[in-house]
């Protein structure tokens, strides 16, 4: 096989793989949204002085943060129903959607730690100054501490997203037809060992060129926010 043949074969299969990659992006975007929303609650919960809120938040955070993503994925795929009935309507939960929910848990736990870390990185003096001005703890958190945290949370949040995207091919194992699964199928369909490396290289490039700018941007933002 000549080099040009290899390239044209890769290009030929590319739309097929890209459709799979679209699913990787869809899963990652949904999981980061769900995970972030959940993570805000968990993170603020961890900071609560109420034991009834603090303890479960810390437990959930540690549980989902220290579990392998793949195991959480298995749990969601096999424990969640294939379809749910809401008011007589039957909604089928495709495996990619269940996988997305599976990814949301570790994302939520990691974001919970990002929130907790960012809040704790604000000097204690800020809390004291606010308290001395009559702000309640809650008002201090929302009006003074969290606004300072948002810029600190963006770079690790973007890193988390990049990490999440690179983890989405795990869902292939539970039968989601995403980019890795499709690449594998493409390689098998060609039954040509010479295409093995180029096909997977193309897949790597796909992930790299999507994730790399995100990481670069996150690094740049980190530099900008880090100075103050």
């Amino acid at each position: 096989m000549t080099a040009s043949q290899v390239v044209s074969t890769v290009v030929e299969w590319m739309p097929f793989i890209l459709r799979g990659f679209g699913l990787n992006i869809l899963m990652s975007v949904l999981a980061i949204l769900i995970g972030t929303a959940l993570g805000i609650f968990l993170g603020l919960g961890q900071l609560s002085r109420l034991r009834l809120v603090g303890a479960p938040s810390r437990l959930a955070t540690q549980l989902f943060r220290n579990a392998p993503w793949l195991v959480l994925l298995f749990y969601c795929i096999f424990l969640m129903p294939y379809q749910v009935n809401i008011g007589g309507m039957t909604i089928v939960l495709p495996s990619w959607l269940r996988a997305t929910i599976g990814f949301s848990f570790p994302v939520a736990a990691n974001f919970s730690e990002i929130v907790r870390g960012a809040v704790n990185s604000v000097p204690h003096g800020q809390w004291e100054a606010a308290e001395a001005l009559g702000y309640s703890r809650r008002a201090t958190l929302f009006r003074i501490v969290l606004p300072q945290c948002i810029s600190r949370m963006i770079p690790p949040w973007m890193n988390l997203y990049a990490l999440l995207l690179t983890a989405t091919p795990l869902s292939m194992i539970v039968g989601v037809e995403e980019a890795l699964g499709r690449t594998q199928a493409a390689v098998q369909a060609q039954a040509n060992a010479a295409m093995l490396l180029p096909m997977y290289l193309a897949l790597l490039a796909l992930f790299f060129f999507y994730t790399w700018p995100i990481n670069r941007l996150s690094r740049a933002l980190e530099g900008r926010f880090g100075t103050k």
Binding site: P123, G125, A129, A132, G134, Y135, S136, A139, Q148
Partner: protein, 249 residues
């Protein structure tokens, strides 16, 4: 002295005790501070000076004793904290300005958000206070763009904007470069001259001597002695006071 000793004290501490774990920081503090008075608390490091200040506005809860500010009982479990903080302002060693807000917002936000006063009225007052602190052109700057001395004067304006009766100054010049100490001290003097009751913890003996009406000397959690500055600096009787003064003067 400018105040008559017979008037009822604005602030009264009685037998105040405070422990952090096994360490007893305050071991029975009594103080009487009258309206308009300027009081300096001096003493060696770790003698509990800052803790006394922090108990007065309730930042540090006490274990025993009582603290009264006007008609407010600070230890009251049903204490209206906003009312107390409205009455007692505080300025910190590390300024503690809010870095994400402009100077004007720093000064005006608490009266607007906490005391629910109308924005325009508060901002007008904030601008006047910034002018008094000789920072009229810094309203739109961010704290990070100011020098330490300027930041501390913003912090004083922020405390004043709550229109408190009392301001607690916690070693407000300790983190400053020497050339900025003077500008902050003259700002403190301005506050005192305007009739606000001032309680300051300070290492600036010269300032305490000249600006304070009364000096308290603390050591190891007790008030060793207190007197007007003329008496205190020349006729200190307790050996601990004498030893301290011989080191710092």
């Amino acid at each position: 002295m400018s105040v008559s000793p017979s008037s009822a004290p604005l602030i009264a501490l009685r037998g105040v005790r405070k422990s952090f774990g096994h360490l007893e920081v305050l071991r029975g503090i009594d103080m009487d501070i009258r309206k308009g008075e300027v009081v300096a608390i001096i003493g060696p490091s770790g003698s509990g000076k800052s803790t006394i200040l922090r108990t007065i506005n309730g930042l540090t809860p006490i274990n025993e004793g009582s603290i009264r500010v006007g008609d407010i009982e600070v230890g009251d479990p049903k204490l209206d904290k906003v009312k107390l903080r409205h009455r007692v302002g505080m300025v910190f060693q590390q300024y503690n300005l809010f870095p994400h807000r402009t100077v004007l917002q720093n000064v005006a936000m608490a009266p607007i958000q906490v005391l629910k006063e109308p924005r325009e009225q508060v901002e007008e007052r904030a601008r006047r206070l910034l002018a008094e602190m000789r920072l009229p052109d810094k309203a739109d700057a961010y704290p990070g763009e100011l020098s330490g001395g300027q930041q501390q004067r913003v912090a004083i304006a922020r405390a004043l904007c709550m229109e408190p009766e009392v301001i607690l100054f916690d070693e407000v010049t300790a983190a400053l470069d020497p050339e900025m100490v003077k500008e902050v001290l003259s700002a403190v003097r301005k506050v005192a001259e305007d009739g606000v009751t001032c309680i300051l913890v300070t290492h600036e003996m010269g300032f305490a001597r000249e600006a304070a009406d009364h000096i308290y000397f603390t050591d190891r959690g007790v008030i060793v002695e207190h007197a007007p500055p003329q008496t205190f600096f020349t006729e200190a009787s307790d050996p601990r006071t004498k030893e301290f003064l011989s080191k710092v003067l």
